[in-house]
Amino acid sequence: MGRVVFAAGVPHVGAILIGIQRAGEKGERVKQSFDRLREDLRAAKPDALIIFGSDHFKSFFYNLVPRFCIGIGAECGAWDEGVLPKEQVDAYRVPVHQELARDILMQTVERGFDINSSEDLRLDHSFYSPIERLTPEHDVPVVPIVLNVAIAPRPSLRRCYELGRAIRGIIGSRPADERVGVIGTGGLSHTVGVPEYGLINTEFDHQFMELVATNRAEEILSGWTQELIEKEGGNGMNEIRMWLAMAGVVAGATGQVLLYEAVQAWGSGIGLLRMDPDTAKV
């Protein structure tokens, strides 16, 4: 059976690529934390990296709103968001682990998750920012899974976690010795496009990471309402769904908070969390 060899929650704001200097020492610490995580990922020797990301009105709009969408084409391009240089955007190609992606598509549907699929998924910064920090050589094929966290109704926290658990089961049904990494990407507390810009709730962010790291995600799933998340963490905190999907893949596992910074220059609470997949309960 395949197994999970790496799992982490990471930020995805474009500033982790182009705003390090702007954030001074905090930015440097974020970069260093990513550098260490990249070494961990390399040491885990993954055959594929599942990425739970989102879409900021780049691929999807009100004319078509999938709650979950998996990229199953041979490769993915990137959207021009003023983050990657134009030449890099136009030539951007990251390989997809198609076999695993298609297996996840077929089997999640069998398991009751009617997820959408795309043969030509283009990625926004929620995917390529962490990709460029963790696998800049694009030498680890990815399985991109978009969770709609921007447009109501959003999938519930529990649904996202359960999607992760279902994928854990699918990995277990894969050929022997397949090694799979997984990351959930997103802010912690932050706001986007509202007058309350700049909100960072350090306490709430720590609480979230601590609950995930100590295998108490259930307290979040059963206790955190949509209203609470947005009130305490801003509209950007909806992105914890990607972290919870990641946590679902290693359900039962404990982990370690690698870094937390309230980065005012980026208007976001920034956290990196590494889970220990070996402590997961299969």
């Binding site: 900021h56 709009f61 496009g193 810009y197 208007g267």
Partner: protein
Amino acid sequence: MSAYQVQKFIWELDRDRRLKQQFKGNPDGVLSQYPLTEEERRILKEVDTWALRAMAVHPILIRQYTRVFGIEHDKIFTDGPHRPLKAE
């Protein structure tokens, strides 16, 4: 749902480098190709962020629209509400 057309315009603009250039050079010409009311065209031309918000334009789209004009994230609602259209 008129706000839909405003949002659709912003969405298409944000995804299309060439359209962005056209818009900066000839905002009236580009806006005239979309099924928008006069008031909606005014709001878009003046980057009236409070009006966009009042119309329930999605915050991410407000952010992306203001980025076209080089407006910093923390200035979206503080410099407004009315600003002249100018290229980055």
